[in-house]
């Protein structure tokens, strides 16, 4: 049987090692479809990227320019129509040459026309071309001075604006046809009928506002905007998640670093006053070594009493005295906190607040380690000292209302429609905490992420 295998394997090797279907040219042609791939694949990607970028830039420029052009259109609607007027009047007059106008200082109208009393009325001397081709100043034309419209026109600003327009029925009709209401208003306000009935062309002259006028206008516009912005920044009812680190301490005992997290709801009471309530989980460790609160030592006294009674007495005949010293209490609580506080936003911007309230707690777990030195002095005056430690644990037990007061300051930092709040706080103990009536003061910093803090 071994021969058959060897022979077969040998035959297979011979056949396939020297295999050739003589189609290597076709095979190479097929390979070239895939290889080399650098030229085939990378180039189009660059081209596509380049084309896409070019289109984006072109579109961006188009829209940007189009927008600015529209702004200009809106601002200078009246001014734009003037070439039409000029053309019409030119054709009406049909003179061989257009007289060059000469602007003169405002002068009193000898006719005592109402137009003369208007501060917007100016007088011009218009040279006329004579039939001999020489310019002759024939009469003085009165012109209505109306707004140069750089900003959207407003009644109170228009009185100061100074675009000189031909006092001409055609001109007025053209303005009316273009539905420039504000210009019409000005015309109504400044109904000036010039003495001259002839349709004489006057090129409108745009007179810029003085800096003072411009600034006045701008300040009026700006004065309106903040009201709108203030509205948008007003905080409404919201939800916030927070996490924080804090130090627990009591008197001159060592401070312990702890952490917690939770969620709060802020409900709007008035524009600047909110009630905030929520729930959180926090770890609270504290160690009393130097100063033990009386409430805690009373709660722990059963330990020391038991310890003193349980002190070893190896010599029954001798009289012993037992004492306890170097007491320390180490507490570890996992609190479920329920803070309730009032938040007051003193500024209209509502970018910071002052909060005060109370915190109540229930306990997911409690662990107390009570350590002390037990000294036993025998009749010979020899003192034996032994370090003792007792531990007590409990789970989900008790509820303490108003264990601590809350005093906090929150500083809001907007992130889009939401905001991030840095809230340093101080929580002095106003009640006892846990089974052993702990007293814990806390200082810490909460980082709060506030959802939907602003109105849109």
């Amino acid at each position: 049987m071994k021969d058959i295998d060897e022979e077969l394997v040998s035959q297979i090797k011979t056949v396939f090692e020297n295999f050739d279907d003589e189609l290597s040219d076709n095979g190479w042609a097929k390979l070239r479809e895939k290889y080399p791939e650098k030229q085939n694949k990378k180039l189009p990607i660059w081209w596509i990227s380049g084309i896409a970028a070019a289109i984006l830039i072109a579109l961006g420029l188009f829209f940007a320019l189009d927008k600015s052009a529209q702004k200009i259109d809106n601002g200078q609607q009246i001014v734009k129509q003037q070439p039409v007027i000029k053309h019409k009047t030119d054709s009406i007059i049909n003179r061989p040459s257009i007289a060059k106008k000469q602007e003169t200082k405002p002068a009193e109208n000898p006719t005592g026309n109402t137009a003369d009393k208007s501060p917007l009325v100016a007088q011009k001397t218009v040279p006329k071309a004579s039939t001999w081709g020489k310019p002759i100043v024939t009469d003085v034309k009165k012109e209505i001075v109306i707004a140069k419209v750089e900003q959207p026109i407003k009644n109170e600003t228009l009185t100061n604006q100074k675009v000189v327009v031909v006092q001409n029925p055609i001109n007025q009709n053209a303005i009316a046809a273009n539905k420039v209401d504000t210009a019409q208003k000005i015309n109504n306000q400044n109904q000036v009928i010039a003495n001259n009935n002839g349709a004489v062309v006057k090129d409108p002259v745009i007179v810029k506002k003085t800096t003072e006028q411009f600034l006045n206008d701008q300040s009026k516009i700006l004065a309106q905007k903040p009201k709108e912005e203030r509205k948008t920044k007003e905080t409404k009812s919201s939800i916030e998640v927070f996490s924080g680190t804090f130090l627990n301490y009591y008197a001159d005992n060592a401070a312990k670093l702890n952490a917690g997290f939770g969620v709060n709801a802020n409900v709007k009471l008035t524009k600047s006053l909110f009630v905030s309530f929520g729930a959180g989980v926090s770890q609270n460790k504290i160690e009393y070594q130097k100063s033990i609160p009386s409430e805690v030592s009373r709660s722990m006294s059963s330990y020391s009493f038991d310890a003193a009674n349980a002190a070893p007495n190896n010599n029954p005949g001798a009289s012993n005295s037992t004492s306890i010293s170097d007491i320390s209490i180490n507490a570890q609580l996992l609190n479920f906190d329920i803070p309730v506080s009032l938040k007051f936003y003193p500024t209209k911007k509502q970018n910071f607040y002052i909060a005060t309230g109370i915190n109540s707690s229930t306990y997911l777990s409690q662990k107390y380690t009570y350590g002390y030195n037990l000294s036993n002095k025998n009749v010979l005056g020899i003192t034996q000292t032994a370090k003792q430690e007792e531990t007590e644990k409990s789970r989900i037990n008790g509820f303490d209302f108003a264990t601590s007061a809350i005093f906090a300051i929150g500083i809001n930092q907007s992130i889009g429609n939401n905001s991030l709040t840095f809230e340093p706080y101080f929580k002095p103990a106003i009640g006892n905490m846990g089974e052993k009536n702990l007293r814990i003061n806390t200082v810490g910093l909460n980082l709060k992420f506030n959802f939907t803090s602003n109105k849109k």
């Binding site: 049987m1 058959i4 295998d5 022979e7 077969l8 394997v9 035959q11 297979i12 090797k13 056949v15 396939f16 090692e17 020297n18 295999f19 050739d20 279907d21 290597s24 040219d25 095979g27 190479w28 097929k30 390979l31 895939k34 290889y35 080399p36």
Partner: protein, 184 residues
């Protein structure tokens, strides 16, 4: 170094390293038959085998820089071919299984005695084996992989590889005897 008109393998590899397309074509055509033979043993189908061959050559051209010129090119290339063929088989497993339902009918007529078996005869014989038996037979007997290596490549225990090989041999022997290809 100017390129000789009929370079030897070492020179060919050298020029391929520099990305010379003409040298790559020469290398391709030189090893085309050898590569197609190996891939055919695993894939049975010429079109599939050619795909695997071309993919293997592309791998060679891309990684030829890492090939040490003192090493045995054929052995290195063989490994690439076998791995590429196995990958191709795995990738197209569903498809090939679907084909097999129609196409796996064992070949029962062979044109000649053992030492005259053609490539087509051998492939016909191999089709009588199941997929794994065929792979193990090829890998172990023809391409010289150990059972340990085969176990890793096919993701099967080493002992299973031995069993598949034994069964493959038994099947082939019985086929050869039944069809009087091999006479005792």
């Amino acid at each position: 170094m100017s390129k000789p008109q009929t370079p030897n393998l070492e020179e060919l590899i050298h020029y391929c390293k520099s990305g010379d397309l003409q040298s790559q074509e020469m290398l391709y055509k030189h090893f085309y038959g050898y590569a197609l033979g190996i891939c055919l043993r695993y894939l049975y189908n010429r079109e599939d085998a050619l795909e695997a061959v071309n993919d293997s050559f592309i791998k060679v051209f891309k990684s030829i820089d890492s090939f040490r010129e003192d090493a045995h090119f054929k052995a290195w290339f063989r490994k690439i071919l076998v791995n590429t063929a196995l990958d191709y088989k795995r990738k197209n497993m569903r498809f090939s299984q679907a084909i097999e339902l129609v196409d796996t009918e064992p070949q029962t007529t062979y044109s000649s005695a053992l030492d005259n078996l053609s490539a087509k005869d051998i492939l016909g014989l191999m089709k009588n084996l199941n997929e794994t038996q065929s792979l193990v037979f090829n890998l172990y007997e023809i391409d010289g992989y150990s059972h340990k290596e085969i176990g890793k490549m096919l993701n099967i225990p080493e002992s299973s590889s031995r069993t598949y090989l034994t069964r493959a041999k038994q099947t082939l022997q019985s086929l050869l005897i039944t069809h009087s290809i091999y006479k005792r």
